[in-house]
């Protein structure tokens, strides 16, 4: 008898697929799922033809905000977002890094005014691959490893 672990389909909600395995829990963190009262399935290190291994996050009863999609795009630039209704995928979209990021990222420069006075943050994407962004205020250029999400 073969034993198989099944992850149940969700009736309504969002499935984020094609997450790099090591970013799976970061996606869960972005979506602040610890306080979400409905079904959540998180799968990591799943086999993938294109990625080797991948992660999937399924969340019932949740649709994503623009800020959440932008944040996911930064850590999982090849992720897909599937919107589910009545157990069917009604919309499938690929995340993409926008040209500017509003209140999504914390500036890595401790002397930036945004880290010292209450204010919004704004970054311009100057290169998508490799990811490079520039702070609208202090003009520091940050690479992917410097990026901290708000």
């Amino acid at each position: 008898m073969t034993k198989e672990l099944t992850v149940s389909a969700i009736e309504e909600g969002t499935v984020i697929d094609h997450i790099p395995s090591d970013s799976t829990f970061k996606v869960a963190e972005i979506l602040k799922l610890e306080s979400h009262g409905k079904i959540i399935s998180v799968g990591a290190n799943l086999p993938s033809k294109t990625m080797g291994t991948k992660g999937i996050v399924k969340v019932a009863g949740k649709s994503l905000t623009k800020e959440e999609v932008d944040k996911i795009a930064i850590i999982a630039p090849h992720a897909t977002v599937n919107i589910i209704k009545n157990f069917e995928v009604i919309k499938k979209l690929r995340v993409s890094i926008p040209d500017s990021l509003h209140n999504t990222i914390k500036c890595s420069n401790p002397n930036c005014i945004t880290n010292n006075e209450e204010s919004d943050t704004e970054f311009y994407v100057i290169s998508k691959d490799p990811l490079k962004i520039k702070c609208h205020y202090c003009e520091r250029v940050m690479e992917k490893e410097d990026i901290r999400l708000l």
Binding site: C112, I113, T114, N116, E118, Y137, C138, E139
Partner: protein, 284 residues
């Protein structure tokens, strides 16, 4: 783009045409000082950080054009110490002044100040980030001394890692087909991001440790001091301060035709007069 009500925050906001226009107006005002041009106008000089040359140069510029100056010369004497935010100070100051000049120790402060204020804001230095009026006066000095800006061989000497004037001037000169020589010990060399940008723009540059290897190739040598206040780690500063003295240039050079640095200080007034007149709409 017109200059009336425009903020002067970063050299990156100015095209080649914009920069040449500022230099042209500065030259006009140097030749023909227009004493009453800014009569009835008030400039607020909000200096949260010490400055001698920049502050005096702005005050002189405004007063020579017939305007008046209000403000402070240290963050210690303001409501800043009582916890007032920069945003609120700007909202208050815009009621008193027609133009606001800000120097602040934090990077990005000038951009935030400009967003808060409905009156034009001129950045007089925001931490290690930008000091655009310094860059414009450097361009003006080079143009005046060499008779042109295009196609020059420019040496940058000193702390190229932290020196904001070096970064801004490199960016501004990139419009003018230069060849750069970056002269500094490895640990204080130009940041990679600036060199990558020069590669992208196909601008020729050389990275060198020894000034004397390249000195005969240079049209201009731009020398900066090692700025103690920009080093996060005082031990790192101690390590390098001996490489260049704080007074890097020997006094015996002062009275030779090779020294442009006192002229540079005088040029600050012409350039700042031009910017004040432009943003206040008194020069087209």
């Amino acid at each position: 783009m017109g200059f009336k009500n425009r903020d002067v925050i970063s050299i990156n906001d100015f095209s080649k045409q914009d920069l040449l226009h500022v230099l042209k107006v500065a030259k006009e005002l140097e030749k023909k000082p227009n004493d009453g041009l800014l009569k009835g106008k008030i400039m607020a000089a909000l200096f949260y950080e010490p400055s001698t040359r920049t502050r005096l140069s702005f005050i002189t510029s405004m007063e020579q054009l017939g305007g008046r100056v209000i403000g402070f010369a240290s963050g210690k004497v303001t409501s800043f110490t009582k916890g007032e935010t920069l945003w609120d100070t700007m909202k208050m100051t815009e009621n008193y002044a027609d133009v606001i000049v800000v120097r602040h120790p934090l990077e990005g402060a000038a951009r935030l100040a400009a967003e808060a204020s409905s009156k034009p804001v001129i950045n007089a230095g925001d931490g290690a980030n930008q000091h655009p009026t310094q860059t414009m006066l450097d361009l003006y000095t080079i143009q005046k001394v060499k008779g042109k800006i295009d196609g020059l061989h420019i040496g940058m000497l000193g702390d190229l890692k932290y020196g904001r004037t070096v970064h801004s001037l490199t960016k501004a000169l990139s419009h003018f087909n230069p060849t750069f020589y970056f002269i500094a010990p490895q640990a204080l060399q130009m940041p990679k991001s600036y060199l990558e940008e020069l590669d992208r723009l196909k601008i020729k540059y050389y990275v060198e440790e020894n000034l004397f290897k390249v000195s005969d190739k240079l049209d201009v040598l731009y020398a900066t001091r090692i700025q103690k206040e920009r080093f996060a780690d005082p031990i790192e500063y101690e390590k390098y301060k001996g490489v260049y003295r704080v007074d890097e240039i020997d006094r015996s050079l002062d009275n030779t035709e090779h020294a442009a640095y006192f002229q540079q200080a005088a040029n600050g007034v012409h350039v700042r007069k031009a910017l004040l007149a432009l943003v206040l709409g008194k020069k087209e």
